[in-house]
């Protein structure tokens, strides 16, 4: 048997040398070709990339090392307790909708993290938590997560697998089925977190008409207007990611959030400084950012 390492070595060799050989043979540079190895005009972009990479990686390592990373209060999240409390009082179920995203989408992962935290609370209060799913893979992951949450809270008996179920993978049929559920079961709280497309409006409108407290969150820009008008609280874009980092305390998420904030701060400083200098006629900053 050939050793695995040898296969690996040959494979990498092929991957690296394949392109280079072709190029070496294919290249015959005409005279007017740019032969610089580095485009000096792009040096600031390059340095910004390096700086930002360092900021991200540094923040992630710091978060992993147990460094405390502060995340601001997010309005929608405070309503989570209120929504769960109200459902418990009224004895009605909570409906959690993860959207149409796939398991790899950032928004779906964020949404699953939030669901995990919601499940911990419903486990304590024994409020039924209904999760209609649209993607069979998401379904399996969610079942595991919720089960683990109930177990952690010491209430494995309260977990019911039938409450987390597959509806259909097609957009409008899913919306219609969930609509029907809302009208029949009249949930006291509806969570709409994740990636949404055109069905967002159908879901949010029906949830609103049955009088549920609705907490939405999505990074799908074009659907946010519908959530904002029809829901009580809406996590806008990046707030959804921040919320999942806030609740899950996952170091990678916390760290990159912090690193991105450093980036935003630099942009912020660049704009403020740039505007002041532009107004007095110094164009350093705008030259720095200009097209190369």
């Amino acid at each position: 048997m050939i050793s695995k390492k040898l296969i690996l070595f040959l494979f990498l060799l092929a991957v690296v040398f394949g392109p280079s050989c072709t190029i070496a043979i294919a290249q015959e540079a005409p005279a007017d070709v740019d032969t610089r190895w580095f485009h000096t005009g792009k040096i600031w972009i390059f340095l910004s990339v390096v700086l930002f990479s360092c900021a991200i990686i540094f923040s992630i390592y710091r978060a992993r090392g147990g460094g405390d990373i502060f995340i601001r209060r997010i309005a929608g999240l405070e309503a989570v307790d209120e929504a769960i409390g109200r459902s418990t009082e009224m004895g009605r179920p909570i409906l959690y909708i993860l959207g149409l995203g796939q398991v790899g989408d950032v928004a779906t992962i964020a949404s699953m993290n939030i669901l995990g935290q919601v499940a911990r609370k419903t486990a304590d209060y024994e409020t039924p938590l209904r999760v209609p799913c649209n993607d069979p893979i998401v379904l399996n992951v969610v079942r595991e997560m919720v089960k683990a949450a109930y177990l952690d809270e010491g209430r494995p008996d309260a977990y019911s697998e039938d409450d987390i179920f597959f509806v259909t993978e097609s957009q409008f049929a899913y919306a219609a089925a969930v609509d029907g559920m809302m009208v029949r079961e009249k949930p006291a709280a509806v969570f709409l977190q994740g990636t949404f497309y055109a069905e967002s409006l159908i879901l949010a409108e029906t949830g609103n008409s049955v009088g549920a407290i609705q907490i939405a969150g999505s990074d799908s820009d074009s659907q946010l207007p519908f959530f904002i008008t029809a829901c009580d609280y809406t996590l806008i874009g990046e707030e959804l990611y921040a919320a999942s980092a806030y609740l899950s305390r996952e170091p990678m998420l916390l760290g990159s959030l912090k690193g991105q904030d450093y980036g935003k701060f630099l942009i912020f400083a660049g704009i403020v400084l740039g505007v002041i200098l532009e107004l007095v006629g110094i164009t350093w900053v705008s030259t720095f950012f200009k097209e190369v």
């Binding site: 792009k42 904030d261 942009i267 912020f268 164009t283």
Partner: protein, 233 residues
């Protein structure tokens, strides 16, 4: 046996010579099947919808093979073989890596699909970094600054200066709203409140334009039903 072939030929003849009118009726039928959903979910809608899913996947398969795999993988490979060019055979490496996607069918080796996925994701991530930094950060910041250079040069009128200041305020406040590692209290809190106002107006405009988009689709379908199908116009 002969009559069956005749019958088929006859049928095929009929259908080919009436393909267009038949197409309009079929299209109208499916249009109405889908509109029946407005009343409620029903077998007609489900029929149309499932057929649609299947057809679009089938369409995708045909197009990907004929316009992706054949020109990019098969043609160069075949050319290399027929012209006996050794270097052309290097194309076999990416083709082989692509074929690893079929490992998905064999549970024991399904982890092999991580190889092509990793390459695709790596390429995507690598080229995104410099381009996104340049196009969406550098150029956007530059766009925010340019009006102020014009103000200094005295090129802008009162209304344009007002617009430039409004833009600056909007960008800064919106950006502040998306800071997560600072508590939104005091000055920061107030700035981010203004940011929300800008965000809402922005979303409102998207809402208004979305209404236009969705209604346009309906208008086109109604136009199809009334003029192409029923010929009322």
């Amino acid at each position: 046996m002969g009559t069956l072939t005749d019958l088929i030929t006859l049928l095929v003849d009929f259908v080919t010579s009436h393909a267009q009118i038949l197409g309009i009726w079929v299209a109208a039928f499916f249009t109405l099947c889908i509109y029946s959903f407005l009343y409620r979910d029903n077998p007609f809608y489900r029929f149309a919808e499932h057929l649609f899913v299947g057809l679009s996947v089938g369409f995708g398969i045909v197009i990907s093979i004929h316009q992706g795999l054949i020109p990019f993988a098969w043609d160069p490979f075949w050319e290399a073989v027929t012209k006996r060019e050794f270097m052309g055979l290097l194309k076999l490496i990416p083709i082989a890596i692509g074929l690893l996607f079929f490992a998905r069918l064999i549970p024991k080796y399904s982890w092999l699909i991580r190889y092509p996925i990793a390459i695709l994701i790596g390429i995507g991530a690598g080229r995104a970094i410099p381009n996104v930094m340049d196009a969406f950060i550098f150029r956007q910041v530059h766009g925010t600054l340019t009006p102020f250079g014009k103000i200094h040069a005295g090129e802008l009128g009162f209304f344009a200066i007002f617009g430039a200041i409004l833009m600056l305020v909007g960008v800064i406040c919106t950006l502040t709203y998306f800071f997560f590692s600072i508590e939104h209290r005091g000055v920061v809190g107030r700035i981010s409140k203004v940011g929300i106002i800008f965000l809402m107006v922005g979303f409102g405009s998207a809402f208004g334009n979305t209404v236009m988009g969705r209604v346009s689709l309906l208008i086109q379908r109604v136009d199809f039903l009334l003029s192409d199908w029923l010929r009322l116009i």
